[in-house]
Symmetry: C2
Subunit: 519 residues, 2 copies
Amino acid sequence: MGPVIENYRTEKKVKTEEAEANNNIPASDTASSGFLGNLLVVPMDGSHWVGIKAIAQEMGRRGHRVTVVIPEISMRMGPGKHYDTVTYPVPYDKAHIDSIMSSLKDMMEKSSFTEKIRKGFSKMQKFTGFMHTTAESLLFNVSLISHLAQQNFDAVLTDPVAPTGSLIARKLGIPTINLLRGLPCSLDMKSAGCPSPPSYVPRFLTRYTDKMNAHRRPLLCRLLYWHFDQIAYQFLGEEVGIAEVLSESAIWLLRLDFTLEFPRPIMPNVVLVGGINCNVRHPLPEVRSWVSGEHGFVVFTLGTMLSDLPEETTSVFLEAFRQIPQKVIWRYTGQVPDSFPENVKLMNWVPQNDLLAHPGARAFITHAGSHGLFEGLCHAVPMVMMPFGGDQPDNAVRLASRGAGVVLDIYSITTESLLQGLNEVINDTRYKENMQKLSALHKDRPVDPLDLSVYWTEFVMRHKGAKHLRPAVLDLNWLQYYCLDVIAVLASVVLFFVILIVKCLKLCFWKLSRKRKQD
Amino acid sequence: MGPVIENYRTEKKVKTEEAEANNNIPASDTASSGFLGNLLVVPMDGSHWVGIKAIAQEMGRRGHRVTVVIPEISMRMGPGKHYDTVTYPVPYDKAHIDSIMSSLKDMMEKSSFTEKIRKGFSKMQKFTGFMHTTAESLLFNVSLISHLAQQNFDAVLTDPVAPTGSLIARKLGIPTINLLRGLPCSLDMKSAGCPSPPSYVPRFLTRYTDKMNAHRRPLLCRLLYWHFDQIAYQFLGEEVGIAEVLSESAIWLLRLDFTLEFPRPIMPNVVLVGGINCNVRHPLPEVRSWVSGEHGFVVFTLGTMLSDLPEETTSVFLEAFRQIPQKVIWRYTGQVPDSFPENVKLMNWVPQNDLLAHPGARAFITHAGSHGLFEGLCHAVPMVMMPFGGDQPDNAVRLASRGAGVVLDIYSITTESLLQGLNEVINDTRYKENMQKLSALHKDRPVDPLDLSVYWTEFVMRHKGAKHLRPAVLDLNWLQYYCLDVIAVLASVVLFFVILIVKCLKLCFWKLSRKRKQD
């Protein structure tokens, strides 16, 4: 065997000024516990990167050694001030990622129902295929995995929507900390052993969503995790499903908060850190003068995945904005229309959280992604929500049911419906009041969610896991869970005695009747 | 109607030096949130007073107005530096309380099995009768209740083992914070809506206890709460059971910790604060010189309820202590024997927590009450446990199963078994090591349990409850909980169509056969 050729690239913490500027992190008043460890981070791209990056940065800032493993090509992931990076080659280019992202814009184009189904399925296939390819590029990069194995990591911090990090953790025999909003098919709650009585715990990604979503979701779950089961077998060389791998997770950091979520049972190793991304970072030098004005302004972003819209939809929005006194800052990367209202500012990227923190923010037009939702909640800005997939319909209905926002259908939006929605949340003071109450509840917590995430990450590193929090339910099969084994044994015993008694009685009767006959 | 005669006595915060000395509280680094409220505290006597008092003191220290309502006669409850007290008359005297407490000593006397059962039942009756009388003396003290109603309290902090405070809260329409170790019949978990799958969640007070306890516990539950249901009806004038009253609780502060407890699902309004009583308060001036010595010392207390033993048992202990090199500090209020070993010091009261915090503490002989258990756990002192009732057998088995202590039967203890137990935990280093690991896990938490208790108490006062944490399960009956209503509807629909199809088929066959006949 020849020498293993290194098929990855390591990069130390970024020390440039530019990086410093891009990687400002909130100052934390929580000192490090004195323990300094070695953390492996396997993140996911897109908005999923936000929370993981915040924890990685803060862990590094506290003095831990932090190594983030990312693909060479990605949307948002990159080096930082407080962590090292290891990049691995992937068999796709930036254009491919862009094409997956732009497929969302395609979905917006007018088309027939069957065409929409076809497009939706194709988009889902593209998306899951992309996730599988990324995972395989990491897991089957022999030199990289062997490099990681030599680093003596104390724990893996990962986003288990793609369970790549969890598989590496199992291979290396180290504990896992998960950060996530939720998994399809409630795989997170199942793997954590949380009971979810269907009578009062709505299924994640299935209820309160439009019909198309409801029947598409289980499909996504299968498309995504069936192939990961195969990858797990190839990578680990053992017959183990993703669900079982995930059930070994030491701590689940869930980006949820009961201000929005319906109260439900959770297990001791599930920690709620919704609002991890609300710390204000930038002083808004670029837009500060622009946003000032008596009527305030509206923030409009549709997230990482949809910053471009079909021309027709764009003009629906612009026409509505022309008729309101507020200024509008719109994150828009598409073709700039020839003419647009003076009160609208189009930007390739907006400091969404910092804009929402500005006292002039009157409304937030959003797709109701979880990060935006928590940022709006944190800064008490009422919302006009236009969910188009994932957890967004769930998020939107939860906030709307609290009277803190309205939900519009982005696929059938009109200037009138948009105007009405904006008018309601801006001018009906109840929306702002409800939002302020919710926001006060949300921000009233003993520990800041980022500090709490760092705390439990450090906990797992200090104690080599959190075995004392592992519930016995994870070792039971469903027969045992419902005590059917116990019931079966008891029933057999009862049956045995019933039969015995019946036989005895029969015998008695028989003897008795024979005696009578003899008499 | 004549003027209402005041049948209670109010007392302001104690400002004397003596009180200061007796009421030292741990300095907290958590500042008040700026909100200052008005808290009513309805505590329970005995060891139950410890945690409630700590919270009341800390709340007062932070500037809240705190009023503690206590009976004129009690074991331990009294005025403090940071809270006002209101006392109400009760129809018993100190001697009656002492006789209830001493009944535990009687249980230790040698007697026949039937005699023991009789004694046990009589003790239980005395005890529950005492609780009912105390509750009635408060609830039916018209002038006191009307005085409390005028104070505009923001919340009630109470120990729901006697649900007196919960009933007052319902009457006054204010939210409740409960502090407790657990309730008989799992009434706490039921009222909080926590699912407790029997396949992996041991029943509180029923499993891991000796047989006699197991059949006595449901009896205790009935004796205690049936009468409280009647009291509730008389006091509130509405048909409402204690379970329903408790289910309105805003926050449940449970003195549990998953270091000892088996992981189980909990609800969002259940907060674990096990170890609330571990802060070291006194510098041990009295016994400091005495406890020093190369072999260290053993702390021996059997709790509030059992500080006196039958002569026979006392000599069993003294004979064992004579044979060990350690010194022994024993909390003993009984008759002092004529001669006892030089290494033994008998004291009417011992600073248990501070002694355990001393590095010379080698072992802790305890009845495994929850406070002592957490203090020993906190300071990593291995234990010889002799549980005699309540939650003690549960506590003891949990700690023993972690290899941090041994359990002995106090009813059949011998000098040999005690010596063997002490020898094991003191000289087999595994006990100390296991205890240190457990202790490290227990103390590794984001917020100190006392601060956390104060935080959630303040939370409830700030937000007038914690309605967003109330699970919908509390509004479901068992038919709805198990979705039997949904299943019934679905089954009916299915049945309807099956019948319809069968009828149709029958009709078809009938027509067909008639046609054939005609042919």
